[in-house]
């Protein structure tokens, strides 16, 4: 009997201890993360052609890192010569964790909340995720950078200052927790900054239906062209023809964002009062155009079933779409066209890029803000790991380091001439960055410490044909010119930084889905207006408290 009691007691005790351990939130009892422990061997010296003058000897460390651009299944440690160069120069072993694009924020947030984030991660910073970021900072779940970091890593600091967001957050948090990565550093094309999202237009079809090939179109102009394409089928595509091919998200950008600057957020009106953009007149106007395109069969009749990038496939791979609305990054413009030619057999000139304007003839957008993704560190990161990554970023932010993130190895793939201009050393058409098996250096890109993103160098990259770089410059330029301060609005930092439970809940509205639903369910334009008004009414419980906060 005694033994039974003992057994039962021991079981209960073990059960409770295990239970408490499972529920406990503290990290104190955990051993230090092994990934952050420097190994005591293999001190390495930075190679002399690296371009910086530091002669620091590094102890080997293991650095864990996460962002969606980590190539899944690719071993950066043994991968290609560029990754080997970086890893040897800074003497670390790289543990990259890929996160799917759609799960980026929630996966990283879950790791941060569980106090199990990688040493370094890219946080998908934006007005929609600012509340979470702020919460993480308040709780000490993100490392605060040492106060002297700007003097220790001056190149990074220079880039940081151009991002606007970095200094704003520093003021807000009273220290640096995030280092936003700059889209542009040497080649900022405008302030406010335009987005690269562009119309993809089949120029040959536009000409064939008797319309002018331009570098900007209003929404009605494009609908008219699409209507003619549907009627005349200039490419003789038959039943597969999709005059406009866009998924639900891109349709919302095309019909709503391009016509109504604040369609999915709040804004300060001319009376100084905040209002809700979804209820603005130009949003309804865009919605009507969307319905018109859908109900007349100009827009893909099953646009709501298209997965991410399937619309791109119809244009670029199958050659059956007349118009799409997709990314138009300078760095990718040439690649898009090469792929288009390879897949469809059409000449690259048939692939036109243009700016989409609203019905008022103006370009509509909110300031993109000069950053994309912010570097952050685990609060438990080892000092050696933290400093190593900062050193790496300092290198990629230097004049000798940043071209390498896109062009490969200095002295082998590129160099600078007597004037200091970048020159290419590879034959034209060499694919430096890209998929494993196709590209020379699959590791090239934003993963290995990049703080100046590709958009910037693309304007100076001699591997991209001059005509395409000029085309991109022209697109950015006309967006900055064909607009008003209201249609192309500067960032409202008060709103951007507004962080309350009410706003957080209001941001949970999935505008792409909601507006797609209104369009597909309407029986007529009058019915669309009724559905839209009913929807606006139903959202008031979420919207009104935010407006009350902002206006009081």
């Amino acid at each position: 009997m005694k033994n039974v009691r003992r057994l039962v007691c021991m079981f209960l005790v073990a059960f409770l201890v295990l239970g408490l351990a499972a529920c406990g939130g503290g990290k104190e009892a955990e051993p230090e993360k092994t990934s952050s422990q420097p190994a005591k061997t293999d001190a390495a010296k930075p190679s002399s052609d690296a371009g910086d003058s530091t002669e620091t000897e590094y102890e080997r460390v293991v650095i864990s890192y996460s962002c969606p651009q980590v190539v899944e299944g690719y071993d950066y440690n043994t991968g290609d010569d560029y990754s080997k160069f970086i890893l040897e120069k800074f003497n670390f072993e790289f543990e990259g964790k890929n996160v799917p694009w759609g799960e980026w924020h929630n996966m990283l947030s879950t790791w941060i909340m569980a106090q199990d984030m990688p040493d370094v991660a890219i946080f998908n910073y934006g007005d929609g995720t600012h509340a979470d970021a702020s919460n993480f900072v308040d709780q000490g779940l993100i490392k605060r950078l040492p106060d002297d970091w700007k003097t220790r890593w001056p190149n990074v600091a220079k880039v940081y200052e151009t991002t606007s967001l970095g200094p704003m957050l520093e003021d807000l948090y009273g220290g640096t927790y995030f280092i936003p990565r700059a889209r542009f550093f040497y080649n900022l094309p405008g302030d406010p900054l335009a987005n690269h999202w562009s119309l993809w237009v089949r120029s040959d079809w536009v000409a064939a239906v008797g319309k002018e090939v331009k570098n900007n179109y209003t929404i009605p102009e494009i609908l008219e062209i699409a209507k003619l394409i549907k009627e005349q089928d200039p490419g003789k595509v038959g039943a597969a023809l999709a005059p406009i091919s866009m998924d639900a998200g891109n349709s919302a950008r095309f019909f709503l964002e391009a016509n109504s600057t604040h369609w999915d957020t709040f804004y300060k009106g001319s009376d100084g009062k905040y209002a809700w953009g979804a209820a603005a007149e130009d949003t309804l106007e865009g919605l009507k155009l969307w319905y018109q395109a859908y109900s007349t069969g100009i827009l893909d009749p099953e646009f709501y079933l298209l997965d991410y990038e399937k619309d791109m496939e119809k244009f670029q791979t199958l050659g059956v779409a007349g118009v799409s609305y997709l990314g138009g990054q300078t760095a990718d413009v040439e690649r898009f066209r090469i792929d288009f030619t390879d897949y469809t057999g059409f000449d690259a000139s048939a692939f036109g890029l243009a700016t989409l304007l609203g019905t008022d003839g103006n370009y509509h957008q909110r300031d993109l803000i000069n950053f994309w993704g912010a570097v952050c560190f685990s609060p438990d990161v080892d000092d050696a790991v933290f400093e190593r990554w900062m050193d790496l970023m300092e290198f990629t932010a230097s004049e000798d380091g940043y071209p390498g993130t896109q062009m490969g190895l200095k002295g082998i793939d590129w160099d600078r001439d007597a004037n200091g201009d970048i020159v290419s050393l590879v034959p034209p058409g060499t694919l430096l960055a890209g998929d494993v098996g196709d590209a020379k250096y699959p590791s090239l890109g934003h993963v290995l410490g990049s703080v100046i993103l590709w958009d910037d160098l693309a304007f100076d990259n001699p591997n991209v044909a001059e005509e395409y770089r000029d085309e991109s410059r022209a697109l950015y330029k006309n967006r900055s010119e064909i607009c008003t301060p209201e249609s192309f609005a500067k960032v409202d930092w008060d709103l951007w930084m507004h962080n309350t439970d009410n706003l957080r809940r209001a941001r949970g509205i999935d505008y792409d889905t909601e507006f797609s639903n209104l369009v597909t369910n309407a029986k007529s334009e009058a019915d669309l207006v009724n559905l839209y008004n009913a929807w606006l009414e139903a959202q008031q419980a979420l919207i009104q408290p935010v407006l009350d906060e902002l206006n009081n």
Binding site: V8, L18, G19, G25, G140, P301, S516, T520
Partner: protein, 319 residues
Amino acid sequence: MAASSGYSGKPSPKHRIARLGRDIWKNRGKYFLVLPGIVWYAIFAYIPIFGLSLAFKKYMAKMGLFGSPWIGLANFENVFADPAFMKSIYTTLWINAGRLIFVFPVPIILALMFNEVRLGRSKKILQSIFTFPHFLSWVIVGSIMISVLGQRGVVNSILTLLFGTEPIGFLGTPAYFQPIVYLTDIWKSTGWSAIIYLAAISGIDTEQYQAAEIDGSTRLQRIWYITLPGIKPTIIVLFILAVGNLMSGGFDQIFNLSNPATIRVAEILDMYIYRITFRGSVDFSFSAAVALFRSVINLLLLLTADRITKRIDGSGLLA
């Protein structure tokens, strides 16, 4: 038992524990085999119950579950302020009630039909064919449905060929959403679910069938008067469990079959929880409040179903 132990009344707790201890010791081999199951259940089913307290707190990761500040019913107030929440409850109940009516009986009918197939080989082949779809994920089924029911899919091609009709947007029409949910559910799960009923049927004494046959009963009469009553307890248990799941379940299916055009008739509670937890700002407390509400409703539905079946039939799931 009490009388045999020499006591005239109910045994005291002390004696009951002692008796339990003796029983455990006597059957220690069996209890040892059960132990992993108990430990699994304790760790994964009972300990996480502490997590429900999150619904009444403002979760702070650094402070942990127990240290996070208590905010009472504030999360619930926010939950009920969201119109999408109440809508998702209605949608969940509507879809799952339909499931009870249209999907739940199908495996029973299939099991009865299988039971009537006399050729063992054909029976096995048929059973394998019906069971196979169970092993396909809903992601794959979703893709298959686009190929079958899309505007350029098989069904529309046949309709156009035979009747010259314009393509119908089956997957984008809210009115078709529920039927598609039930049909795909039946196609995917019926074969698998029928296994339980077949097992129950195999437990029915065959002498009853022989006696009925001698008495001149028809096949339908044997099904009605022998097979169905024989598997009634199984049907009742599974029915009560299905009622207890009215507020949950079906996430994978509906998530993969829905799209922006049908979202208003498709956003069930689990999808709502997913959206507010991961698509917006990460707020575990808010999600926990919704999940707790769902669990409470599920429990009430289960108890109600159990009570009703007891009233009607005299047997139920719970003692």
